[in-house]
């Protein structure tokens, strides 16, 4: 599939000189990208690079994934100003990317069906913009947020309903916009590593690993094996904590308290295992470019393994009740359903995609770092409903547990840190990491001095929020909490 591509191929967590990436006039580039996506490639990133030579112009850049061929590919347009024919008109998965392009660079994707801001607005309140409205005497509109009823991040949900039935849901985000990506050109700065750890604070390891991998690819030197090993371990601990918490929260949303109570506590137990490594429950300080911030010595690894076994056994039991309780099955099955073709056309990633039967997992499709040597099987479940997304999480807990049991006892020898060479100039590096939510993608382009010229962060939530909106169509508005929880997307990771 990737064999005949005119795009430049590159493997995950590697780099390519900027000059070697093929370029097209913008309309031809859109056409070439659409052709590759039609042939089965997937859009990981579609972003702009401001061109300083010709002031006020922009290049488009596409990062594609040929999952079955285990390779990525990059292409770019020639600089242009004004407008270009939108990719979204034929490729749904590009729709948010093109809204972002318009917002960040002022280029107009001609023909985009719903062009509005992604994060920024004139009045600093994202819900102030226009919303798609369904007209009719029995249609009513429900507005929720930005401040929600629980202890969660802010976002605005606008439902068009006929009675209980949701005809359409539009999600307005941007409330969490902290300028995470905007601050990066000219970097890395002193605070950059710490900002990467808090792009989405519940996916610290994933984003930090993607960032470190980008710097290592730009420096031309991998992290020591022992650091790669530790990152893989920390990534699965992060997955265990969040998946367990999600299953507990799903149970809570259908008022099934035994699993909710048990999983809530067990989530904390998994966070504490991460804290055994670095002192911080969210893994701050573990991943450093070219290094590990902490080592996991044999004795500590053994203690971690013993505690892990206890937590895994407890989780297995607490989650099994979900499948045994008819009241839970009745509330999970056939709720928030997406078809595999919807998931594919929206470009969903992570458990949301795998819960629609799509085999899509960076650890398997694009192995980098330690995942070149040690794999966990990809978990897939058909159905596309809340039940399927819950099942995927529960099975991934088992697989992550097995992976950890295997890896904890088999550390590679050697140092855990080395001095990383400075980034090479005029080079594009791309790193994908399978976070617990799905694919985290970081792409960095250096300038002539080796500093960041452009840095693009794509949290899996960027791909998946539209999946939640589509899953609600035709469902009952009272199912929204359990649907929302079954995706559990990041607001700050999206808002950047």
């Amino acid at each position: 599939m990737s064999g005949a591509t005119p795009f430049a191929l590159l493997a995950n967590a590697t780099s390519i000189p900027w000059d070697e990436i093929p370029e097209w006039p913008a309309p031809d580039f859109v056409h070439a990208t659409a052709t590759e996506l039609d042939r089965g490639a997937r859009l990981c990133a579609w972003f702009g690079v401001p061109e300083e030579v010709t002031h006020g112009s922009t290049r488009l850049v596409a990062i594609l994934a040929y999952d079955a061929d285990n390779t990525l590919a990059a292409g770019r347009s020639l600089p242009f100003a004004g407008s270009y024919p939108a990719l979204t008109t034929t490729q749904t998965q590009a729709h948010l990317f093109e809204r972002e392009l318009w917002e960040q660079h002022g280029v107009m994707p001609e023909g985009h069906p719903w062009l509005k801001p992604v994060r920024r607005t004139a009045y600093d309140a994202p819900a102030d913009g226009p919303f798609f409205r369904v007209e009719g005497g029995e249609v009513h509109e429900v507005a929720v947020g930005p401040v929600h009823a629980g202890v969660i991040e802010p976002g605005h949900f606008r439902f068009q309903c006929a009675g209980e039935e949701v005809l359409h849901l539009e999600i307005a985000l941007g409330y969490q916009h902290r300028g995470a990506e905007r601050a990066l050109p000219g970097g890395p700065h002193r605070a950059t590593m710490f900002q990467m750890e808090t792009v989405a604070g519940d996916a610290t390891i994933a984003h930090a690993t993607a960032y470190a991998s980008v710097l290592e690819a730009l420096g031309g030197q991998e992290a020591p094996l022992r650091a790669q090993w530790l990152r893989a371990i920390a990534l699965e601990l992060e997955r265990l904590a969040n998946h367990t918490g999600d299953l507990g929260a799903l149970a809570n949303d259908v008022a099934f308290l035994p699993s909710a109570a048990a999983c809530g506590k067990l989530r904390g137990d998994f966070l504490n295992l991460t804290a055994m490594i670095c002192g911080n429950r969210f893994g701050r300080g573990i991943v450093r470019p070219g290094a590990s911030g902490h080592d996991l010595e044999a004795q500590r690894a053994a203690r971690l393994g013993a505690l892990l076994s206890i937590a895994l056994a407890d989780t297995e039991l607490a989650v099994s009740w979900l499948w045994d309780a008819p009241s839970v099955r009745a509330r999970f099955e056939n709720v928030g359903r997406l078809s595999p073709s919807q998931a594919a056309s929206l470009g969903l990633v992570g458990p949301s995609a795998r819960g629609c039967g799509l085999v899509r997992d960076v650890r398997y499709d694009h192995p980098a770092g330690w995942h070149r040597f040690a794999q966990a099987p990809v978990v897939v479940w058909p159905g596309g409903d809340v039940f399927a997304r819950a099942r995927v999480r529960s099975l991934e807990i088992q697989r992550s547990g097995e992976f950890l049991r295997e890896q904890l006892g088999n550390p590679p020898d050697g140092d855990d840190s080395e001095t990383l060479p400075e980034p090479v100039p005029d080079t594009l590096a791309v790193a994908l990491v399978e976070s617990w939510r799905g694919e985290v993608c970081h792409a960095a382009l250096t300038d002539a001095a080796g500093r960041f010229r452009r840095y693009k962060i794509i949290d899996p939530s960027f791909h998946n929020w539209t999946g939640l909106a589509m899953a609600m169509r035709g469902g009952a508005i009272s199912d929204f909490p359990v649907c929302n929880k079954s995706f559990n997307l990041s607001y700050c990771g999206f808002d950047l």
Partner: protein, 274 residues
């Protein structure tokens, strides 16, 4: 049968809620480090090594003066602890670090080497909120780290509601706000409106480095460097994110539900707190 299985499971597990504060506090992870202590008297003339490694510029030193570390702005990366040539900045291992006044978090000068821990609310507010505090949580740019560890307090392991503290779904039902995040421009209006909707008298608790001073995003034009930019803050709980124990300590300290003398006792006496 599932129902009997579940009942039996609960019986075999017993009480899973931590004994604290009646019993000893759970131990922090050995690499946590806890609060910092800054002994400015140990600083060498002209040394600025800690100032230069701090990612959030939480450490300042004016020429000829002693070093000042703002624990509210600190994200606890411990780079300063490692780099300090004289051991002036050290980790205490203490989970307690909540303060009532912003200046109480600035460490370094003689007499201010450690955090001046939070005093309780005045008697009038304590009588109102001491045994029943309802909080509305507002995340205003939080990364879901602080939010997660605030949520943890509601699990059976911590059982925050045993102290009469609960998170409520409407500001109208709340006695105050618990704020996380640096207060983004896009959330400033929503935070202001939520604050306005809480009936008087009301309190505000800022949790985490972002809500206190902007955290890793301090100085970005998209954020307002903390909750105090928008609403008056009554309690600051440092951390990135703060350990749940640190948050709980802050809340209980504010409500005068802790007795430090008894807590540091090797053999705690039976509780009279509840």
């Amino acid at each position: 049968m599932l129902a009997t299985d579940l009942l039996l499971y609960r019986l075999t597990r017993g009480i899973e809620t931590i004994a604290y504060p009646d019993g000893p506090a759970p131990t922090l992870p050995d690499r946590h480090g806890g609060a910092l202590r800054v002994d400015g008297a140990k600083c060498v003339d002209g040394c600025r090594e800690c100032v230069e490694v701090c990612p959030t510029e939480a450490i300042t030193r004016v020429d000829g003066g002693s070093v000042a570390l703002d624990l509210g702005r600190c994200i606890f990366c411990a780079a300063c602890v490692k780099t300090c040539p004289t051991g002036a900045i050290t980790q205490t291992g203490d989970h307690r670090m909540a303060a009532r006044e912003r200046r109480d978090l600035v460490l370094g000068e003689r007499g201010h080497e450690e955090v001046h821990l939070a005093a309780a609310l005045d008697e009038k507010l304590r009588r109102l909120f001491g045994r029943s505090l309802r909080l509305r949580q507002v995340s205003a740019g939080g990364c879901n780290g602080c939010e997660s560890d605030v949520n943890v307090l509601g699990t059976i392991g911590w059982d925050l509601s045993r102290f009469g503290i609960q998170f409520v779904a409407s500001p109208r039902h709340a006695d105050g706000l618990l704020i996380t995040g640096p207060v983004t421009n896009n959330m400033k209006l929503a935070l202001q409106k939520t604050w306005d909707a809480v009936p008087e008298p009301k309190i505000v608790i800022a949790v985490g480095a972002c809500a206190i001073a902007g955290g890793p995003f301090v100085g970005h034009p998209e954020v307002n460097d903390g909750a105090a930019s928008t609403v008056p803050v009554d309690l600051f709980i440092p951390g990135c994110p703060p350990h749940p124990l640190t948050i709980l300590d802050g809340l209980l300290r504010l409500l005068d539900r802790l007795d430090d003398r008894r807590l540091t006792n090797a053999r705690p006496e039976p509780a009279d707190i509840r």
